[in-house]
């Protein structure tokens, strides 16, 4: 029996040897493939343990931060849900948006060195992300959110010429703290679309808000504005009051317009579309207007460093072949062109900045994990001129006059701030739903350095032209701060 016992012993030892080889196979040969599988829950847990960095407002107030739960997983906290329009959301299940999306790599800590990553892995430390300092001013953000009173729409405020976005609100919004629980409700209604950031990706009919573009185009058709601007703006236009028929809509001056003959500047102040519609073909050719749309950036996605923005749907260029009805629609902002509030903010900012565009951005500094000092985010220094300086100056003065004359624009006036503005109404959809627009800025120039706070507000379903101006006024007052 001894021989049989020895054989069985050898066979058993051999079997244990095969098990050793099998372990080696799964660890060494197949290990990488197994661990990289999508259904490897360990990757999911590692992802859920990542302590994303903090998003601060410009004054160091945390707008979003992560904390570890009792289970060792990370929980994202948004102390000010009203800042969601800027911060966006982070959800393990549904992804990211806003700053969370634009600076995801930084916030996750993806850029750490291979050595730090090795040490973290070895010591089982959760991955820690870097911090992000936004340009958002929490006071401005809260002021806008309060002023909008829950109405659907969008508002964006930026400093000129730095391009720092001080506030951006999109309503209806969402509470990023409860996003996972609310997801079904947030995604079920395509008409209200709470997850849509209306500032950057909400496409609106510009309507009366396009009068600023038309005014700039008309003024641009004159080569010597220093001499001709007075004539262009102050000549009485007998048919300025006459409504314009566009696609079944009757577009007229805003309520409260005086009955006297109006100048172009007054027509602009009171939102009368007639003179602007008439100018197309007379002073401004369709091709010229199309070129203006292009130069002003209305035909492409606006730039907001790191953010996902949206280009308007491609439309037929305006030209000799464009029908009269389509030209009329284009001149009154009721055509195929749609814009985001960010598009309009670029134009307003250029008017406030002597015709130069500004580098819009929401984040100005980053701090790597564990570091004390902030590292500035590289902002493009090249500010392309999108308006002639003299055109920008005259439009600026016209907006100042509008703020003085129009009761609707004046609704944005707060204290001693020097207000430049324009209001307009647009209509969209089969039921011609009204949208109230305000475009404007307050001057912040100190010495020779031009500076301003620019604002664009659009309220959905709102036919009161002063409604958007009220919101803009509160936003501008919060951004400009108390008088020096």
């Amino acid at each position: 029996m001894t021989a049989e016992l020895n054989r069985v012993t050898r066979a058993l030892v051999l079997a244990f040897g095969i098990i050793v080889l099998a372990i080696g196979y799964w660890v060494v040969v197949e290990g990488g493939r197994l661990l990289a599988r999508e259904d490897n829950a360990r990757n999911v847990i590692a992802e859920q343990r990542i302590l994303r960095g903090t998003i601060y407002d410009r004054d160091g107030e945390p707008l979003a931060y992560s904390r570890a739960t009792a289970l060792g997983l990370a929980e994202r906290v948004y102390p000010y849900p009203e800042a969601a329009g800027a911060t966006g959301y982070y959800s393990f299940k549904y992804g990211t948006s806003g700053i969370e999306e634009a600076f995801n790599g930084v916030l996750r800590g993806d850029g750490i060195s291979a050595w730090d990553a090795f040490v973290n892995r070895t010591l089982h430390r959760p991955q820690e992300g870097g911090d992000v300092r936004s340009t958002i001013d929490l006071d401005v953000q809260q002021a806008i959110a309060t002023a909008m009173k829950g109405r659907a729409g969008a508002a964006v405020v930026a400093h000129v010429p730095s391009g720092r976005v001080l506030g951006m609100v999109s309503l209806p919004g969402y509470d990023p703290n409860t996003l996972d629980a609310d997801w079904e409700r947030l995604t079920v209604d395509a008409t209200t679309s709470p997850l849509l950031n209306r500032v950057t990706t909400g496409l609106y009919q510009p309507g009366g808000a396009l009068q600023t573009v038309m005014l700039a185009a008309i003024l641009g058709s004159y080569s010597n504005l220093s001499e001709e601007a007075g004539f262009v703006l102050n000549t009485e236009l007998p048919l300025a009051h006459v409504p314009v028929q566009v696609n079944g809509l009757e577009l007229g001056c805003l309520p409260g317009t005086p009955g006297d003959p109006l100048t172009l500047a007054e027509a602009y102040a009171y939102g009368c579309p007639g003179p602007f519609a008439a100018a197309l073909g007379e002073r401004v050719s369709p091709e010229r207007l199309w070129e203006r749309f292009d130069v002003l950036g209305l035909l492409r996605a606006p730039e907001l460093a790191g953010f996902r923005t949206i280009a308007p749907p491609a439309i037929e260029p305006l030209g000799a072949g464009t029908s009269a009805q389509d030209l009329l629609a284009a001149a009154t902002g009721q055509g195929a062109l749609t814009v985001t509030p960010l598009h309009m903010l670029q134009i307003v900012a250029a008017i406030a900045n002597q015709g130069n565009g500004i580098p819009l951005h929401v984040v100005d500094a980053l701090r790597p994990p564990g570091a004390d000092d902030w590292e500035p985010v590289e902002i493009p220094m090249h500010h392309p001129a999108i308006l002639r300086m003299d055109v920008a100056e005259v439009v600026r003065l016209t907006m100042l006059q509008a703020a003085a004359q129009s009761p609707h624009v004046r609704a944005a006036q707060r204290g001693e701030l020097v207000l430049y503005g324009h209001t307009g109404i647009s209509y969209a959809g089969p039921d011609a739903r009204p949208y109230s627009w305000f475009l404007g800025f307050v001057d912040q120039t100190l010495g020779d350095t031009p500076a301003a706070i620019a604002v664009v507000v659009v309220l959905e379903g709102e036919s009161d032209p002063a409604a958007a101006a009220h919101v803009a006024g509160d936003a501008l007052a919060a951004a400009a701060g108390p008088p020096p």
Partner: protein
């Protein structure tokens, strides 16, 4: 006072014995101390890593007490025992306690209690007559008693989880699985029967083509008893244990008869039984399907085995560290997949250490079989060692996708009182046999 020559000679022998025994005892103490240090370090690390209270150290305290008492009693009762069996069994059990504290902290107290019960059973065996006649002489009584207990389980059986096969008998908060006891009783029965008939089995064989097999008269009773055991286990859907019985039976038959043809035939029968089981039992068909291709159903039927392989891969060479991996992703990890959890948190090195400990127990058990003179002792030592080895190999190979999963536990390590108690009885018998082997020498 004067002493006779015979007394002098006896005194010299005792001194020689003492000199031989002392280093063995020291080695056992040293191994137990090292095992204790390892288990203590693991438990402390677990407390720190998972932010547990220090009171969760108490299972290690009980373990240390068991180790000290066990060593002390074994020193008195079995001075010539093999010095590796007890430390290795305690080492694996202690590691199992660490693992259960980590995976299912609520079960740690019960497993610790079973350690105490297991040690008591082991020490009780050292008090019984060392020639094991009580086990050999009443082989039919023991086996029929074990089968009766299994029969009672069919009627009164329960499952501590509240669902699944009802393989346990409940005693208050404790549950015992009679099929575990049957493992030992069947091995003892086979050892006893084959020991009585071994010379005749080898001499009186029949030709079957180019093969020779023992005469049916010798195989009849043993096949009958073994067949009843298998039927009862299949009835209970305890197919893992049935497979274990089959393989152990074939190996013991080979050891007794010396006929390799029986082993080959047995393998063929096992394959046929497997095919039949696939047709008869959905669970077997499912396990074979999952074994052949786990990847296509990785999120459903094969979730457990795929997650187990991922755990092994995640452990790498050195492991994630106790409390730092994610083995709890694997369903029933503390029972069927304890080895995968060890591979993840202690790495390939930890897995090899567990396997080495098991393999050393098996090889030392086989050595006891080789070195002892009594046929019953040889077969019993070999049968117990083979049982331990085959059970280990079945679960290790299952976890690593070398064979379909069988649902047996990893000896000493997995959660389960019945299994632990059985393994301590196996260890106790091997200790007694090793002591007898030295006595006889």
């Amino acid at each position: 006072m004067s002493t006779t020559t015979a007394e002098m000679a006896a005194l010299d022998l005792d001194e020689m014995d003492e000199e031989r025994i002392r280093p063995q005892a020291r080695r056992e103490r040293l191994l137990l101390a090292l095992a204790g240090l390892f288990i203590l370090l693991n438990q402390v690390t677990l407390i720190v890593a998972r932010d547990r209270g220090w009171e969760t150290l108490w299972p290690v305290g009980v373990w240390a007490l068991c180790a000290a008492i066990g060593h002390s009693v074994l020193e008195r009762r079995l001075p010539r025992r093999d010095p590796l069996f007890f430390p290795l069994a305690m080492f694996l059990t202690g590691w199992g306690l660490n693992l259960i504290s980590r995976l299912v902290p609520g079960f740690a107290d019960r497993q610790t209690l079973w350690l105490v019960i297991g040690l008591a059973a082991l020490l009780a065996l050292t008090i019984l007559p060392g020639d094991l006649r009580w086990l050999r002489r009443y082989r039919y009584t023991w086996l029929i008693g074990g089968l009766a207990l299994l029969g009672v389980t069919i009627v009164l059986g329960t499952n501590p989880s509240g669902f699944g096969p009802r393989l346990w008998l409940g005693f208050g908060r404790l549950y015992y699985q009679p099929s575990e006891l049957l493992k030992i009783l069947l091995v003892a029965f086979l050892a006893s029967y084959f020991a009585d008939h071994e010379p005749y089995m080898r001499l009186d064989s029949r030709r079957l083509g180019r093969w020779s097999v023992p005469a049916p008269a010798f195989l009849g009773p043993v096949l009958l008893m073994w067949g009843v055991s298998i039927v009862v286990l299949v009835w209970q859907r305890d197919l893992g244990t049935a497979t274990l019985f089959f393989v152990v039976f074939m190996i013991m038959l080979y050891l007794a008869s010396g006929q390799a043809a029986l082993l080959l035939g047995g393998l063929g029968l096992l394959a046929l039984a497997g095919l039949a089981a696939m047709q008869l039992f959905d669970v077997v068909a499912l396990r074979v399907r999952v074994w052949l291709d786990p990847w296509s159903t990785a999120d459903s039927d094969a979730y457990q085995i795929v997650q187990s392989l991922m755990a092994v891969a995640a452990g790498g060479l050195f492991g994630q560290g106790i409390g730092q991996g994610q083995p709890t992703i694997i369903p029933v990890v503390h029972s069927d997949f304890a080895f995968a959890a060890i591979a993840e948190e202690w790495g390939m090195l930890g897995a090899l250490a567990v396997m080495a400990a098991l393999a050393v127990i098996v090889v030392r058990g086989m050595r006891v079989a080789v070195e002892t003179r009594q046929a019953f002792d040889r077969l019993l030592a070999a049968g117990l060692s083979v049982t331990l080895a085959v059970q280990s190999l079945l679960i290790l190979a299952g976890v690593l996708k070398l064979v379909p999963l069988t649902g047996v536990t990893l000896p000493f390590v997995s959660y389960g009182g019945s299994s632990l108690l059985t393994m301590f009885v196996v260890t106790g018998l091997l200790l007694v046999l090793s002591n007898r082997e030295k006595d006889a020498a």
